[in-house]
C-alpha cells in the first residue's frame, strides 16, 4: 500500500476538511443511538414502569463531580486544539494529556459508583431503572474509554508534528461524549420523580 | 371480491369487503392508466420508430404539469381512501357496541384456551365454560372478547370475521365482533410464536341459539366432541363445492410429534 492517500482525500468541495466532515457524520449517527436509548428510558419513566423511584439512590454528588470533571476536560481539549492551531506541539500534547487525565478521574468515580452499587446488592437485573442506568452509563463509559485511547494515540503523533488537525477531531468527539453525559446526568441522577 | 375466497361471517366483514372493492377499483383505475401510459411510451418511442429523441427538461411548468396534475388527483383520491379506511377502522377497533355476551381467549405456546361466560354473561364466575382450541358463539349476538397471553405474542385472527388482534403477555386487550353466519371457521394465531406456530390453530363455531345451548350442555356433561379435532380429521366444511380437500394422509411426522406433546 502506498503511503500517500488518494487525491480524493485532499479535495474539499464543501470547504469543510474531509476528516472533520467524517467526524460530524460519525457523531450524528451516534446521536441517534444514544437518542434511541434516552427515548426508551423516558418512555418507560413516563409510563410508570416499576423501579424508577430508585433514581433517588444514585449518588448525585458523584454524578455532579463527574459532570464538572468532564466539562473541565472539554476546556483542556479546546486549549489543545488552540495550541495545535498555532503549531505549538508541546502545549497541545500537554493539554491532550490533561484531558486524558480528566477522563481517568471520570472513570475512577464511575468505578467507585458501580462498586458501591454492587456492594449494596444493586445490579444489572434489579429492575428496569438499574438496567437502564448500567446500560447507558456503561455505553457512555465505553465512549470515554475509547476517547482516552484515541487521544493517547493522537497525542504522540502531534508531539512529533504530524496530523496536528487531529487535535480538533478528538476534541469534537470529546465534546460529544461530554454532551451525552449532560443529558444522562439529569435524567439518571437528578430527576427523582 | 374477498367473499369469493372466504365467507363473510361477521357484521363488519361486509364493510371491509366494500372498502377492499373501493381500493381495488380506485387504485386499479390508476394502476391500469399508469401502466397503459408506460407501455404505450415503451412501444411508441422505441428506437426503430423514433430514431431521434426530443430534448425535454421537465423543469418548465408547461412540461411538469403532466406530472403534477395526476399527482394532485392522487391526493384527492387518497383522501377518499383514508376516509374509508378510518371509517372501517373506527367501527372495528375504536367502538365497543353494547355486549350480549363476553368471552376470553388465552394464548400460550401453542394452543388456545377459551372461556365462555356461561348463562350469567360474566367471566370469572362459577358457570364459566372452559374449552381448548374450540370457541363457540351464537349467531347474531354482540360479543366482547378479552385477549390474554401466557408467554409470547400471539394473534387472535378469524379470517371469516375479518378480525385480527395481537395478544400481549401482561395485558388484557378487548374488542368485539358479531357473528352473522352459522358454521365452523378457522381461528388462527397470526403472530410468530415459536416452533409450534404452525399448529396453533383452533375452530370457532357459530351456532344457532338451540345448537349453542346443546353444545354448552354437552361440554359440561363431558359428551362433547371437539369441533376442532373433528375438522382436523375430516377437513373443513367446504366453503364452496369447488374445493375438495387435500388428502390428510400426507401428514408430516413432525406434526404428530408436536401434537402428541400436549
Amino acid at each position: 500500500m502506498s503511503m500517500h492517500g488518494p487525491i480524493a482525500t485532499g479535495r474539499t468541495a464543501t470547504g469543510i476538511p474531509t476528516a472533520r466532515l467524517a467526524v460530524w457524520w460519525l457523531l450524528s449517527s451516534e446521536v441517534f443511538i444514544f437518542g434511541g436509548l434516552i427515548a426508551c428510558f423516558l418512555l418507560f419513566k413516563f409510563n410508570g414502569a416499576p423501579g424508577f423511584q430508585d433514581a433517588v439512590l444514585t449518588v448525585t454528588w458523584a454524578g455532579a463531580f463527574n459532570t464538572f470533571v468532564l466539562l473541565t476536560s472539554s476546556l483542556t481539549i479546546v486549549l489543545a486544539h488552540d495550541a495545535a492551531e498555532h503549531g505549538d506541539k508541546d502545549r497541545a500534547f500537554k493539554y491532550i494529556w490533561f484531558t486524558i487525565f480528566g477522563g481517568l478521574v471520570f472513570m475512577c468515580v464511575k468505578a467507585y459508583e458501580y462498586g458501591s452499587k454492587i456492594a449494596h446488592g444493586v445490579g444489572f437485573t434489579t429492575n428496569i431503572f438499574w438496567s437502564f442506568y448500567f446500560t447507558m452509563t456503561g455505553l457512555h463509559a465505553l465512549h470515554v474509554l475509547g476517547g482516552m485511547v484515541i487521544m493517547g494515540m493522537v497525542s504522540f503523533d502531534i508531539r512529533k508534528g504530524y496530523n496536528l488537525h487531529r487535535a480538533e477531531l478528538v476534541g469534537l468527539y470529546w465534546h460529544f461524549v461530554d454532551i451525552v453525559w449532560i443529558f444522562l446526568f439529569p435524567i439518571l441522577y437528578i430527576a427523582n420523580f | 371480491m374477498l367473499d369469493y375466497f372466504i365467507p363473510r361471517a361477521s357484521s363488519f366483514s361486509g364493510d371491509m369487503d366494500g372498502l377492499f372493492n373501493l381500493i381495488v377499483y380506485g387504485v386499479g383505475f390508476w394502476f391500469v392508466l399508469t401502466l397503459s401510459v408506460l407501455v404505450y411510451f415503451m412501444i411508441r418511442f422505441r428506437h426503430s420508430v423514433s430514431p431521434k429523441a426530443a430534448y425535454i427538461t421537465g423543469e418548465k411548468h408547461s412540461e411538469s404539469k403532466w406530472v403534477h396534475w395526476p399527482h394532485y388527483a392522487i391526493i384527492v383520491f387518497d383522501v377518499v381512501l383514508i376516509a374509508g379506511a378510518i371509517m372501517v377502522w373506527v367501527q372495528v377497533k375504536q367502538t365497543l357496541p353494547p355486549k350480549d355476551d363476553i368471552i376470553r381467549a388465552v394464548g400460550q405456546q401453542w394452543s388456545w384456551s377459551f372461556v365462555h361466560s356461561g348463562p350469567d354473561g360474566k367471566l370469572d364466575t362459577e358457570d364459566d365454560v372452559l374449552t381448548v382450541n374450540d370457541l363457540h358463539v351464537e349467531v347474531g349476538k354482540v360479543y366482547h372478547f378479552e385477549l390474554q397471553s401466557r408467554d409470547v405474542l400471539h394473534n387472535f385472527s378469524i379470517p371469516a370475521f375479518r378480525l385480527k388482534q395481537d395478544m400481549i403477555p401482561g395485558r388484557t386487550i378487548t374488542g368485539w365482533f358479531e357473528p352473522t353466519q352459522e358454521g365452523t371457521f378457522d381461528l388462527q394465531c397470526a403472530e410468530m410464536c415459536g416452533h409450534g406456530h404452525g399448529i396453533m390453530g383452533a375452530a370457532i363455531t357459530v351456532h344457532s341459539p338451540e345448537s349453542y345451548q346443546a353444545t354448552m350442555e354437552a361440554i359440561q356433561n363431558g359428551t362433547y366432541e371437539s369441533e376442532y379435532l373433528k375438522r382436523l380429521k375430516e377437513g373443513s366444511t367446504p366453503i364452496n363445492a369447488k374445493r375438495p380437500q387435500v388428502s390428510q394422509n400426507e401428514a408430516s411426522p413432525y406434526t404428530e410429534k408436536l401434537l402428541s406433546s400436549f
Partner: protein, 569 residues
C-alpha cells in the same frame, strides 16, 4: 497495452509495485476491489437466501415430504429458514449489493475522483461485513439451531430462550445483524464524505447523477433510522444474555417498545434499498432512451420528501399489535400520503420515456421490468396501509406478495439492471446477449408466476410463517394447495434461470467481447475511465461542465454530451 484488458492485466499494468494476490484482492483498499468483494459476497448470500426460499417453498407445496437437496423440513427448521431468508435478503443481499457494491464501485467513478476518501476505513467495512456473515453462518449450526422468531424478532419470543428454544441461535443472529449494521455505518460515513467533498472540479450538487444522490440519501436515512434499533439491539441482547427485562412484561418491560424501535428502522429501510435502485434505473433509462431525465429537481425533491415521510409511517406495521387504536388513524394518513411523492417520482420516470428513442438493450429491459413490477408493489401496498383493511390483511400472504413485489424489483431486477449496465465497465467485456435474454425473460416471467398467486392465497386469509396448512382446514383445500404448488414451481424455475446468468457472468470475464470505455454512449463520468478502470481510475482526473443527463441536445452532432467534455459534441 489496450485499455480493454482483463482486470488482472489492467491492475498489473498500473500498480506501482508488484502486489501479492492477498494484498490485491483480499486486503485491498481500492474502492473497486472492495465494491466487487461486496458484490460477490452479496450474490453468494443471494444464493443462500434463494436456497432457503426453495427449501421452505417446497415444504409448503409438498408438506412433510423430503425436499431434494435439503431433507425433511421440521417446524423449527421451517421457522429458521423463513427468518433467515428474510434477514439475508434484506441485510446481506439488498444492502450490500445495491448500496455497498455499486456505491463503492461507482461513487468515486461517477463523481470523478480516484478513490474513496478513507480507503482503509472502507476495507474495515468489508471486513466487518465478512465477519457478520461468518457469525450468521455459525448461528445456523449451534445447539438448538438457527433463530426462528421471524426477521422482526419480536420479544419475548426472541429474548427468552425458553420460548424460542434457540438459545444461542437468537443471540448470534442478533450479533450478526448488529455487525452488519456497523459495517454499513462505517461504509456510509465514507460514502457521504466522499460525495460531499471529493467531487470533480466544476461538479455542482445538481450535476451529480441521481444514482449517487440516492445512495447518499439512503445512507443518511439508514444512519438516522438505525440508531434507535442499535439501542434496541443492545437492550435485546442484554435481555437475552444478562437477564435484564427491558422487553419482558412480567418484570415491567414492554414488548411493544421493541416493535416501535424495529419498525422505526424497518420502514425507512424499505426506502434505503429502494432509492439506490431508483437511482440506478434513472441512469439506465436516460442512457437507453437518449433523453434528459424529466425533472431532475422534482425527482430529487420527491426522494427527499419520501425519505422524510417514511420516518413517520412505521406504526402501520403495528395496526393490530396492541397500540392505541387512535394512533392508527394518524399512521394511516401518513402512509397513504407517501403514495403522493412516490407516484410523482414514477410519473417523472415514465415522462422521461416520452419522446425518447428507446433501445432495448439488456439493462433497459431490466429497468423497465423494475418500473412495471414496482408499480404493482406500490399499488398493492395501499390496502395494507389503509388501517381498516389491514385488520384483515395483516400477516397474510397478501403482505408477502406485496413486499416481494417491492423488494424483488429492488434487490433483484434493479441489481441485474445495474450488473448488465456496468459489467462492461467492471470487467472490460460484454456479457453474452442470448444468455442475457434467456435470463431476463426467465426471471421476469417466473417472478410474476411466483408472487401473483400469493395475492390470491392472501385474500383467502392464508397467514404467514406456517410450515403446513393442514391445521387450518379452511386453508388446506386442494385449490389453495394447487396455487402453492404453482408458486413453488415458479420459484424452482426462477432459481434454474439463474444458472445461465452465473455462467454468463463468469465466462464473459474471459471470453466476452471486449468493451470500449463508453459502450452505451452514456454521459456520466464513470464512462470516461478505461474499462476496467485501473488503480487510480482516470488517466487524467476529469473536470465537469454540465449535468449527467444531457442527451439529444439540439445543435450537437452526437446524441450524448459527456459531463467532462468542454466543447460541443
Amino acid at each position: 497495452m489496450s485499455q480493454a484488458t482483463t482486470m488482472t492485466e489492467a491492475h498489473a499494468h498500473d500498480v506501482h509495485h508488484e502486489e501479492s494476490f492477498w494484498t490485491k484482492y483480499i486486503f485491498s483498499v481500492d474502492h473497486k476491489v472492495i465494491g466487487l468483494q461486496y458484490m460477490f459476497l452479496g450474490l453468494f448470500m443471494a444464493l443462500v437466501g434463494g436456497y432457503f426460499a426453495y427449501s421452505f417453498r417446497m415444504q409448503l407445496a409438498f408438506p412433510g415430504q423430503e425436499v431434494p437437496l435439503y431433507g425433511l423440513v421440521s417446524p423449527a427448521e421451517y421457522n429458521m429458514l423463513v427468518t433467515n431468508h428474510g434477514t439475508i435478503m434484506i441485510f446481506w443481499v439488498a444492502m450490500p449489493v445495491l448500496i455497498a457494491a455499486f456505491g463503492n464501485y461507482m461513487i468515486p467513478l461517477m463523481i470523478g475522483c480516484d478513490d474513496m476518501v478513507f480507503p482503509r476505513l472502507n476495507r474495515l467495512s468489508i471486513q466487518v461485513f465478512f465477519v457478520s456473515i461468518v457469525v450468521l453462518f455459525i448461528s445456523f449450526f449451534v445447539e438448538g439451531g438457527g433463530f426462528g422468531g421471524a426477521w422482526t424478532s419480536y420479544p419475548p419470543l426472541s429474548s427468552v430462550a425458553e420460548y424460542s428454544l434457540t438459545n444461542w441461535g437468537s443471540s448470534l443472529w442478533l450479533l450478526a445483524v448488529a455487525l452488519e449494521i456497523v459495517a454499513f455505518l462505517i461504509g456510509g460515513i465514507n460514502f457521504l464524505t466522499t460525495t460531499m467533498n471529493s467531487r470533480a472540479p466544476g461538479m455542482r450538487m445538481t450535476d451529480v447523477p441521481i444514482a449517487v444522490w440516492t445512495i447518499n440519501i439512503a445512507v443518511i436515512m439508514f444512519m438516522a433510522s438505525v440508531g434507535p434499533l442499535v439501542a434496541g439491539a443492545v437492550m435485546l441482547f442484554m435481555d437475552q444474555r444478562l437477564g435484564t427485562t427491558f422487553f419482558l412484561p412480567s418484570a415491567g418491560g414492554d414488548p411493544v417498545l421493541w416493535q416501535h424501535l424495529f419498525w422505526f428502522f424497518g420502514h425507512p429501510e424499505v426506502y434505503v434499498v429502494l432509492f439506490p435502485a431508483m437511482g440506478i434505473v434513472a441512469d439506465i433509462i436516460t442512457t437507453f432512451s437518449r433523453k434528459k431525465l424529466f425533472g431532475y429537481r422534482a425527482i430529487l425533491y420527491t426522494i427527499i420528501a419520501t425519505g422524510a415521510l417514511s420516518f413517520v409511517v412505521w406504526a402501520h406495521h403495528q395496526f393490530v399489535a396492541g397500540i392505541d387504536p387512535r394512533m392508527a388513524n394518524i399512521f394511516a394518513v401518513t402512509t397513504l400520503l407517501i403514495s403522493v411523492p412516490i407516484a410523482e417520482m414514477l410519473f417523472c420516470y415514465i415522462a422521461t420515456l416520452y419522446g425518447g428513442s428507446i433501445r432495448y438493450e439488456l439493462p433497459m429491459k431490466w429497468a423497465m421490468a423494475f418500473l412495471i413490477s414496482f408499480l404493482v408493489g406500490g399499488v398493492t401496498g395501499i390496502p395494507l396501509g389503509a388501517s381498516g383493511m389491514d385488520i384483515f390483511f395483516h400477516d397474510t400472504y397478501f403482505v408477502i406478495a406485496h413486499f416481494h413485489y417491492t423488494f424483488f424489483p429492488i434487490a433483484i431486477l434493479a441489481m441485474f439492471a445495474a450488473i448488465y449496465y456496468w459489467y462492461p465497465k467492471m470487467f472490460g467485456r460484454h456479457m453474452n446477449k442470448l444468455l442475457g435474454e434467456i435470463h431476463f425473460w426467465g426471471t421476469f416471467l417466473t417472478f410474476n408466476g411466483l408472487f401473483l398467486p400469493l395475492f390470491l392465497v392472501g385474500m383467502a386469509g392464508q397467514h404467514r410463517r406456517i410450515y403446513n396448512y393442514q391445521h387450518f382446514p379452511d386453508l388446506a383445500s386442494a385449490d389453495l394447495q394447487g396455487i402453492r404448488i404453482f408458486a413453488t414451481t415458479s420459484l424452482v424455475l426462477l432459481l434454474l434461470f439463474q444458472i445461465p446468468f452465473i455462467w454468463n457472468f463468469f465466462a464473459s470475464m474471459v471470453t466476452g467481447e471486449k468493451a470500449e470505455a463508453n459502450p452505451w454512449k452514456a454521459n456520466s463520468l464513470e464512462w470516461v475511465a478505461p474499462s476496467p478502470p485501473p488503480h487510480g481510475n482516470f488517466k487524467e482526473l476529469p473536470t465537469v461542465y454540465r449535468g449527467p443527463y444531457e442527451y439529444s441536445v439540439p445543435g450537437n452532432r452526437e446524441d450524448y454530451w459527456p459531463q467532462h467534455m468542454p466543447d460541443r459534441n
